[in-house]
Amino acid sequence: MRLIHWFFAGAALAFADSNTDGVAVLASKCQQCHNQQMQMGGVRLSSTADLTTHRDRVLTAIAYTGKVKMPPIGKLSAEDSKLLSTWVAAGATFPTGGPATAKAPTWWAFQAPVRPVGANIDHLIKVKLQEKGLKPAAPADKLTLIRRATFDLHGLPPSKPEIEAFLNDSGSDAYSKLVDKLLGSPRYGEKWGKHWLDLARYGDTSGFEQDPYLLYSWRYRDYVVKSFNDDKPYDRFIKETIAGDELFPEEPEAQQGTGFYTVGTNRDLLYKQEKENRVETLTDFTDTTAGVFLGLTVGCARCHDHKFDPIPQRDYYRLQAVFMPHVKTRVFLHYNGARGYDLNENTRTFRLQELGTQMMALLDPHRKALREATLVTRSPEVALAFHTPDDEKTPEQKKITDQFQKEVEPTDAQVFAVLSKDEQGRLDGIEKKLVAMFKNFQPGPFAPGLTDLSRESPRSFMPPKGGSDGEEVFAGYPTALGGGDISPAPLTAETSHRRKGLAEWIASSDNPLTSRVMVNRIWQYYFGRGLVATSSDFGTRATASNRELLDWLATEFVAQKWSFKAMHRLILNSETYRQSSKPSLKALEIDPDNTLVSYFTRRRLEAEEVRDSILAASGALNLKMGGRPVVPTLATEELYGMSQPLNNAWIVTEDLREHDRRTIYMIARRNFRMPLLEAFDQPEGVLSCSRRDSSTTAPQSLSLLNGRFTLAQAAGLAGKLATEADPVTVAWQRLFGRNPDTFEAERMNKFVAQQTQLLGSKQAALTELARGLFNLNEFLYVE
């Protein structure tokens, strides 16, 4: 297999004469992007001849005085600059043994991770802390720990019995047992699946004016939840995502992974946009794949060589070529079921056309008669306007018909009222047939997916330059990571095997980025920021706060067969994770971003957690999993501005119990987010989101304080408190998992008394209590 193989120039390792220093600077600072394989900006610096050609450009660029400044990530040190410029000015003679023709990558993230021997998380954290004279924070107490771990793994607060069981378990393994139990619950996949769906820019509609439904997106959502719950190894998950169709042709379950490429924004249903849509789609596939799996911002190289990273424009189109032959498809989850569904659908549509025709024949004469009956009572101009076909109407006639449309056009009720008994019977018959058509109706066994149209692909070219056609390029791997083209598929193959090649290359344990990027994401979801803060950008401007730890985690992830749950166990059982969120004064002073993790970083609940926790506290939460997206009731003012009429765009789910399901199952419209979730920084789902905002705004407070949802759940909780002897204590326990202290209890009791007086009933006062408690920082933050 074509993996990463570096070309070491023997000469570069054994310089012995006075030129050595200048060459060393060239090798470490320039040749990563300007070598035999990669000539960024059209510049190669591999030989004396090259350096003679580009002499002035090089000297100006490293002086940082002209428009082009090199190296792009920062000026050379004065010493290096002098060494290099002296050497170049003196004729750029390479030492004996010949010029260096290529360089191993000097950028750390492109080199294989180096595993620190005998290390673990706590050790590697402490080494860094000691360097700065910091100490880890004290261990968190048990209540804090169960709340933290439950939110981090489930996105929900622990229940009262769960807390009690944990607090009463004095065994030394109580905590590790808790972690195991949490990882075994299906709530885990709902929480961690959501992280992935952020990256996958998941949505149930496709955006733009009509924002049409992606009818089977939810299968992908369910596939992701299940994959996390099953602890599907990440290398396997990558293969299913990028090339499930090519690698697992007999496993429709696995092919669902390719839904990753179909659940984003698209213009498939816009008019005359087919060509542009194809280009945008390819761009989205390329950028999202590189960013999510490799932490590479290849999008920068779409129009020119990357300005900072060794990614030439050519590489962009080589990567894009991987997706060139793709077509969106439906994965048949059960072959016979899918074919049967299509056949039924076919018959059903024919029957619908027949019944529709019958209905029109039955009703239209009455509609027309009623219309005419009204028109005879109007002026001849109005009647004429209505009698003129639409495309022949004058503007005045158009105005008239617009104005009188409502009065003249009979309603359905008016039409039904004039039907004869016989006609009524026929209409009833049609209705019965319509109902019967949907007997045992289920959504089809389809999942959205991707495949290739055939083994052959349209050709790929660089963009045209200076009036001439762009160079043809072939699907392949980034040059800086070893390069090489993807082998063509066998002649008998049904697809191009390009995605197969890419998937295997990314999912390989030899790829220096794949495991690093994922363990860094995992770390970020726990500690608020990754060891590399830009978690979808591992390019040359990315720095690691603790590279040894990153590399240790990356190699451990591979050693643990890419098991997410193994990584969770490691992290959650570490002392680092179990620290309290109380920083030392020194930490605040010298490491205010807590990049070294000398304490646990308190975090605000994410949008979904806010909503789910309120449902859990009120007792309404419905834990049913999976299925079609739920459309909950919203207030009219919350739905303001929806781009389509509400009877199309917000088709409320009939069963109210469904409305209380976890937020991951609520519909994710591309053009409209639920206001509460929007206020709490739920991403738009348009671009891949690698790290959510955690803002603090007044509209957020208004939404949680005055919103319809809070009020309804507060009333629900108050209902549960009504029969309690000590409602304030019970309320406090339900929300915070602990008993209120004296101050808190007194304050609440005083509040309930006052509100009972003001509002006239204890029930109303308890509702107010619940509404207030939902707005407390103790509720909204994980310690």
Binding site: E280, D593, E684, R747
Partner: protein, 455 residues
């Protein structure tokens, strides 16, 4: 937000962040605009019936275009090779002492002709509404990028802590959805806040039904007391303090916002000026008057989306050019003129930029018997206030009004100019996302025309 960001005052929702953007990007001493009122005409206004007179269309009414002109143009419904030219049904008088020519649809605006700088050479490449709206408002045909209002408030911050710094008003449904005023990858605090009709312009501003204001105060006081007690042992974390303050701000917003939208204090003369008592002008007149009140209160960026796909819209020009444009002009002409009069009278026009734009123009060719189709290849907009020298037109489309040919200006050029007028260098106002320092103008905006506007 990290603690450090907060400690340093660079946290989201704080002026510090905006200051960081500003110090980098605010460079232009010429800039006079402190505020902006951006009137976005939803649906596509026909340029050849408003600000770009083309008498040849009347002369050659009914004939097809010369093939060389039709080649290469595509739009939603019509075929440029087959459709026939249609002359404008409106006159194009010369207005003001400048004699600026625009159509008789805007008699009230005519009185302000000497304040208007018309750009007749705008062009884009998106002929569907949503992509064209995203392009105009965010610089990209795809949703997900920050809108110009978000960029502006990110760069300049707010002058009123009790009101949002970027206020949006619309007529209801928009073909772009909320993406046209979204914050994209910028912090969410920079997104446009939709102001609705009625006493409570911000969603959830009103105390819930059945809760008296005393009861609400009690509940807020409970929240405050318990939050402060919680904070007492966590004073190192200023995010917690910020949230406590957010409730105080929410409370102040509850008291200030209804006042900001309460028009009862306006004089009868003002009501009459904006046409608040006429059914045709009442709605948009109210929005224009609210825009002035927002600017008075220091709201940085006010955007009015005029028209809706579920009601009156410029886009009804598909099959009824006359009716749609007459109606939309009638609804907005007097209010917009009133806004200019009012801002001028209050001495606000010099520091307020007023922008009038649309996602595209409409075809000089007929669609069906009575319509015009979408046309992004050449269209018009205007700007006024903020020191702009009016009574002039920049650039031109070709003789048929098809393509911007003289001084063509892309939406990036327009957006670069708007930012510059607000004192922001569009090249320097950036946000790192996906490895790039992203800009509103992407890699474009090289043909900004601030100097021309300021004369």
């Amino acid at each position: 937000m990290t603690r450090r960001e907060l400690i340093q005052g660079t946290g989201k929702g704080f002026a510090g962040l905006a200051l960081a953007g500003m110090s980098q990007a605010q460079t232009n001493a010429l800039a006079k605009a402190k505020n902006i009122i951006y009137i976005f005409n939803h649906g596509g206004v026909s340029h050849v019936d408003t600000f770009d007179p083309k008498p040849i269309l009347t002369k050659q009414n009914g004939s097809t275009l010369p093939p060389s002109f039709a080649a290469g143009l595509v739009t939603a419904r019509i075929d440029f090779r087959k459709a026939i030219m249609r002359g404008s049904p409106w006159e194009f008088p010369r207005y003001g002492s400048s004699g600026l020519q625009f159509s008789s649809l805007f008699p009230h605006l005519g009185k302000h002709a000497d304040k208007l700088a018309v750009i007749r050479s705008c062009y884009g490449d998106a002929f569907d509404h949503a992509p064209a709206m995203f392009l105009s408002c965010t610089g990209s045909q795809f949703p997900g990028r920050p809108s110009i209002g978000s960029w502006a408030v990110y760069g300049l911050g707010s002058e009123n802590k009790n009101l949002p710094s970027y206020v949006v008003m619309s007529d209801g449904a928009m073909k772009s959805g909320a993406g046209a005023y979204g914050a994209g990858y910028l912090p969410a605090t920079h997104q446009g806040t939709m102001f609705r009709a009625g006493q409570n312009p911000v969603l959830n501003l009103a105390t819930p039904a059945g809760v008296s204001s005393e009861a609400q105060k009690e509940t807020l006081s409970l929240v405050n007391d318990l939050n402060r007690r919680h904070y007492a042992s966590r004073e190192d974390d200023s995010t917690l303090d910020a949230r406590i303050k957010a409730y105080e701000l929410a409370f102040r917003m509850q008291s200030e916002a209804p006042g900001a939208v309460d028009l009862t204090s306006e004089t009868p003369a003002t009501r009459q000026l904006y046409g608040l008592d006429e059914p045709m002008t009442a709605d948009f007149g109210r929005k224009c008057l609210l825009a002035r009140r927002m600017v008075e209160r220091g709201v940085r960026f006010v955007q009015l989306f005029f028209g809706t796909n579920l009601g009156d819209d410029w886009d009804s020009a598909h099959d009824d050019l006359l009716g749609s444009h007459q109606k939309m002009a009638k609804k907005s002409d007097q209010p917009i003129a009133a806004l200019l009069t009012d801002l001028h009278a209050r001495g606000l026009l010099d520091s307020t930029l007023v922008v009038w734009n649309s996602e595209f123009g409409r075809t000089p060719l007929a669609e069906g018997k009575n319509g015009r189709d979408h046309h992004p290849y050449g269209y018009s907009m205007w700007m006024a206030g903020a020191g702009i020298k009016g009574g002039r037109a920049l650039g031109a489309t070709d003789e048929f009004g098809l393509r911007a040919v003289e001084q063509p200006k892309s939406i990036h050029d327009v957006n670069a100019t708007i930012l510059r007028l607000m004192g922001i260098d569009h090249l320097k106002l950036t946000w790192r996302y996906q490895g790039r320092d992203q800009r509103l103008t992407d890699v474009h905006g090289e043909n900004e025309f601030t100097q021309w506007l300021l004369g």
